[in-house]
Every structure is written in structure tokens, then in C-alpha cells.
């Protein structure tokens, strides 16, 4: 009995430790955005301080962070929308039909997930420059499909498989066509799967630095992570402002992730569902 109590205490301490390790950097970032330059670097660290919000005002005014957030929002919504539109039916096709080439099709999606970005980036850059599409956000929406579609398919095949087949057969007997069954019966049942793939694909699209760095470097079209890059390499880094910018860049995806955390915890099966 005593052994069990000790185990439970250690178990709880372990979990608390994990929480601290995960949350501390986040706390440190937000705290730094509210401190003054000298407070950020004071040794020993200042744990109690009066928060200043002027760094946020500076980041928004001087670096057009809000414009970058808007660009990221457009690209993220566009690429996730397109990815779901073509990816969800594909996942249904793979989950529900037995057809020749099914394995190859599935492997093709996963291969695209494995695709190293530079392979795609060089031709995209060259083609986009020839067509004068550098600094056009549509190019990002398209190029992100390389990882959005595989992710959507990968996660949603499991979801469609978990829909009881009897339900579909009954709907078919009621006169619904194949596509009707998919649209009216299956799709509403896999909402959690849609939420997980949308938020994960959204996270990766929002967070991407490399593609945006090469394809949309212009100041008016740059995406949120690019803000971070502009601070790099300068001789003097204005840390409070940098951390304020960084907090604004991360906030939407972190909040989005937290909102759907329940679905993520359940839906992240990656083909491992029984």
C-alpha cells in the first residue's frame, strides 16, 4: 500500500515536471515581451516586474506584424481549405474501396510527406519568377499542398474506416448515391477527424518559414514567421520587441491547438487505428 502511495506521488511529480519543462519557454517568451531590455538580461532573473506593453505597440507599428498575421491567415485558410476539399474525398476513396493501385496511391501520398522542401522549392522558385508570381500568396497556397494533402489523407483514412459500414449501406438503400453517402452520411460523422487534420495542417502552413522565405520575401506579402527572421543577424537585437512579435506570431496557432486539443489527443492515429 505504501509502495503504491509513493508511486502515485512520484507519478504526479513527474507529470508536473513535464508541464514545467513544456511551459517554461513559453512563459519566458511572454515575460520577455513584457519586460524592459535590462530586465530580460538581468542576473539573477527578475521574477516580479511591472509589465510594459510598449513592445507590442512597437512591433505592430514598426514591423507591420498585423499585416504579416493577415497574410498568414489568408495562406493558411486557403491551403487548408484546398487540402481538405481534395484530401477528404481521397481519404474516403482509400478507406472504402478495394481497387487496384490502392497501395500505390496511398504510398504516393506518404511519399509527398517525405518530399524534402528544396526539391520542390527550386522549380517553384524558377517557374514563379518566370511567371512573375514571386511575392504572390497563391503560390504558397499551392506549394503547401505538398504537405497538407498527405497529412489530411493520412489522418482521415482512419476516421472514415471507423464509420460503421451498415450505416452507409442503409443510406444507399434509401437511394443516396455514392457521393451522397460520402457527403451527407460520412462527412458529418468524421468531424473530429476534419478538425484534427485542419488544425495540424493549419499549424504547419502557418509556421512554415522556408517556402515563404524564398517565394514571398516582399515586405507587404511576408508571412508571420518571416517577422522573426527580420530580427536575425542584426548587430543589436531589440529583444522586448522581438519577443512581442514572436508572441503575436505564435498566439493564433497555440490558441487554435488548445481549442481542439481533445480531438488531437484522440485523432492523431496516423494509420494506427484498429
Amino acid at each position: 500500500m505504501a509502495k503504491q502511495v509513493i508511486f502515485r506521488i512520484l507519478h504526479t511529480i513527474g507529470i508536473l515536471l513535464i508541464l514545467v519543462v513544456i511551459l517554461f519557454p513559453l512563459y519566458w517568451m511572454v515575460a520577455a515581451s513584457l519586460k524592459t531590455e535590462s530586465q530580460i538580461f538581468s542576473i539573477p532573473p527578475v521574477w516580479r516586474f511591472t509589465p510594459h506593453f510598449s513592445a507590442y505597440a512597437q512591433a505592430i507599428r514598426q514591423d507591420d506584424v498585423l499585416g504579416a498575421l493577415l497574410n498568414s491567415l489568408i495562406v493558411t485558410v486557403g491551403s487548408v481549405g484546398l487540402g481538405l476539399l481534395v484530401g477528404a474525398p481521397a481519404a474516403y476513396g482509400i478507406a472504402r474501396y478495394q481497387f487496384r493501385g490502392r497501395r500505390d496511391v496511398w504510398f504516393w501520398y506518404v511519399t509527398n510527406w517525405m518530399l524534402v522542401p528544396v526539391v520542390v522549392l527550386i522549380p517553384f522558385y524558377l517557374t514563379a519568377s518566370r511567371l512573375h508570381l514571386i511575392n504572390n500568396l497563391i503560390v504558397l497556397v499551392l506549394v503547401y499542398q505538398v504537405f497538407v494533402v498527405p497529412l489530411v489523407v493520412w489522418l482521415m483514412v482512419d476516421q472514415f474506416r471507423s464509420v460503421p459500414i451498415d450505416l452507409e449501406e442503409a443510406a444507399q438503400l434509401d437511394g443516396l448515391g455514392r457521393f451522397g453517402v460520402f457527403l451527407r452520411i460520412c462527412l458529418p460523422l468524421v468531424k473530429p477527424g476534419i478538425a484534427v487534420s485542419a488544425i495540424l495542417a493549419g499549424i504547419f502552413a502557418w509556421n512554415d518559414l522556408l517556402y515563404g522565405f524564398i517565394l514571398t520575401p516582399g515586405r507587404s506579402v511576408r508571412t508571420a514567421p518571416m517577422i522573426v527572421l527580420t530580427y536575425l543577424g542584426g548587430y543589436i537585437v531589440p529583444w522586448p520587441k522581438v519577443m512581442a512579435g514572436a508572441t503575436l506570431v505564435c498566439a493564433p496557432v497555440i490558441i487554435g491547438g488548445i481549442v481542439v486539443h481533445k480531438y488531437i489527443a484522440r485523432g492523431l492515429t496516423l494509420g494506427a487505428v484498429k
Binding site: R8, H11, T12, I15, L16, I18, L19, I22, P25, W28, F41, P45, L85, V86, P89, A90, I94, R96, Y97, Q98, F99, R102, R103, F107, T111, N112, L115, V116, P117, V118, V119, I122, P123, L126, V146, V149, I165, Q172, L200, I203, D208, L209, P225, V228, L232, G233, W239, M243, A246, C250, I254, G256, G257, I258, A265, L268, T269, L270, A272, K274
Partner: protein, 308 residues
């Protein structure tokens, strides 16, 4: 995979019954739009890159010319590239097993906690490192691992460890990258494994509970078999991720000090977009692609058998 759930609604699996054409085309109707999109966005660029990998092409230095396999020879002969590939593989080999072991421990801790609030809190927190922008993680690393003024060295100092030159020393900078990568991606692995753990049927778990009190045999013969597909999936996913790693490392110090943390993506990016040597960069990209597909093939041979 439970076979009954993938059996089609009509007998397409049974070759003896003639299947109407419309029925045979039905799956393609669902799959085609995304296939066409990926052919245009995934396959076309690969072919394009493959073709220019046989050309001498330095941007701004005249028209590209055919040079045969010269770019590949130059890529394979360049220590910049081979060092970067080795660094990338070292990152995979060190970081991935640690992520898997820690992720498994966290998944088990999450599964076995009796305090609902704690479980909820942990589930929420595991999402945070996944969501946080890698470029911001890199920036935060530069701040927190600063030698004189960083919080990491301060905390280490409190327990009597002398300040470490994390980012200025070539070996330490690489260790920092590994540590940060583990911080960033272990929660993701933990969530995948936790979803896999949830697939263990409750009645089997309870029966095992009656069988033995000891944890290890229960884990090994009841939970682990159900978790293999999840473990392999996490492995495929994360290997790809590590091979593609760019944002976080670039934002710490652009692959520095020197080229100490320059992994493959950074090196190829530098060559193509700052050195403008498109031909050699294309050849290197193709070599990386071959490496990642070989790894994917190996994994999926293990993996797809499990899910089909």
C-alpha cells in the same frame, strides 16, 4: 486491421463477379482531384529538378548547359554536402530514439494518471510545442541559451554547473539543436502513442489486470502489440520531419557557428539561393529525395503491412 471494415460495399474484391465500369471508376472519382493536384505540385517539380540537376547553371551567369553527371560528382565530392548529410542523419539517429522513449513514457503517464485535471492539463500542454512556430523556437533558443545572460546557464549555475558555451562552441551548438528538437517534437510523439494506447481494448486490459499485478508483463504482452503501428507511424512521420528540418536551426544562428549546425536543407538552400549554383543544388536535392524515399520504403514495408 479488421478486414470486415475495409471490404467494399459491392464485391470488387471478388474477381469472378464482373464489376460494372462505373463501379470500378468510383474510387478514382474520389481520389483523382488530389492525385492530379499532387502530380502537378509534387511530381512536376521533382522531374524539373531532376532535369536541371544535369545542367551547369549558375544564376546570372548565362544560359544553362548540359554537363551530364558533373553536378552529382561535384555534390558527392563536396565536404559541405556530405558533412550536412551526416549531421542530418546524426540528428535522426540521436533525436528520434530519445523522442520515442520519452514520448512513450509521457503517453503511459498520461494513460495511468488518476487525477482528471492533471490529465487534461497535460493533454493541453502537449499541443503547445507542436503549435509554436519553429522559427520562434529558434529565436527563443538564442535568448535562453545565451552564455552569459541566458536563463539556462543561470539555472545550471544554481545547481553548481559552470556556464556552458552553448551556441558558440561547434559541438555544444549541435547538442543544443538536438535538445531543442527533442523539446519540440517529443510531445507530438507522445500524442501519437497516446492515441495508439487508446486502441487497446478495455476488456483485454482488465483481463490482464486480473492475470498479473506486475506492470512490465502487462505492458509487453498487452499494450505494446497494439502500439506497434503507432510507434512505426510516429517513426515515419518524425524521420521525414527531421530530414526536412530547416526553420528552427536557421533561426538560431543560420546553421552556425560556422557550419556546425548546417543540416542538409540549410546547406542546399544556401547553395541554391545564396550561392546561386542551381545545378549542384538540384543534384543534392535529388540525392536527399532518394535518401528519404529509401527510408520511407523501408518504414512502410514494416508499417503498411500493419494497417492493411
Amino acid at each position: 486491421m479488421d478486414e470486415t471494415s475495409v471490404v467494399p460495399m459491392t464485391g470488387t474484391a471478388d474477381e469472378a463477379i464482373p464489376v460494372p465500369l462505373s463501379e470500378r471508376l468510383a474510387p478514382w472519382f474520389f481520389v483523382a482531384p488530389s492525385l492530379i493536384l499532387l502530380l502537378a505540385i509534387g511530381l512536376y517539380p521533382v522531374v524539373f529538378t531532376f532535369v536541371i540537376s544535369f545542367k551547369y547553371w549558375v544564376m546570372g551567369m548565362g544560359a544553362p548547359e548540359w554537363t551530364g553527371i558533373a553536378n552529382y560528382l561535384s555534390a558527392l565530392g563536396s565536404s559541405d554536402f556530405s558533412d550536412a548529410v551526416v549531421r542530418t542523419l546524426v540528428l535522426v539517429v540521436i533525436s528520434l530514439p530519445v523522442q520515442l522513449v520519452l514520448g512513450l513514457l509521457i503517453a503511459l503517464a498520461l494513460d495511468s494518471t488518476h487525477i482528471a485535471l492533471l490529465r487534461r492539463l497535460l493533454q493541453i500542454c502537449l499541443v503547445i510545442p507542436i503549435a509554436i512556430t519553429p522559427a520562434v523556437v529558434g529565436l527563443l533558443t538564442a535568448l535562453m541559451f545565451n552564455q552569459q545572460l541566458g536563463i539556462v546557464n543561470y539555472l545550471l549555475g544554481r545547481i553548481g554547473i559552470a556556464p556552458v558555451n552553448w551556441l558558440g562552441d561547434t559541438t555544444n551548438a549541435f547538442i543544443t539543436v538536438i535538445l531543442v528538437q527533442i523539446w519540440e517534437w517529443t510531445p507530438f510523439v507522445a500524442l501519437v502513442l497516446s492515441a495508439a494506447l487508446a486502441t487497446v481494448p478495455k476488456d483485454i486490459e482488465e483481463a490482464a489486470m486480473l492475470e498479473t499485478e506486475r506492470w512490465w508483463p502487462r505492458f509487453r504482452s498487452v499494450q505494446l502489440p497494439f502500439m506497434w503501428p503507432g510507434i512505426t507511424a510516429a517513426l515515419v512521420f518524425q524521420t521525414a520531419f527531421t530530414l526536412k528540418e530547416f526553420d528552427m536551426i536557421y533561426s538560431i544562428e543560420k546553421g552556425g557557428p560556422g557550419t556546425a549546425t548546417e543540416v542538409a536543407m540549410l546547406q542546399i538552400e544556401r547553395l541554391a539561393f545564396r550561392g546561386f549554383d542551381i545545378g549542384v543544388a538540384a543534384a543534392e536535392s535529388i540525392l536527399m529525395l532518394i535518401l528519404s524515399i529509401v527510408l520511407a520504403r523501408i518504414y512502410i514495408r514494416l508499417f503498411y503491412r500493419e494497417i492493411d
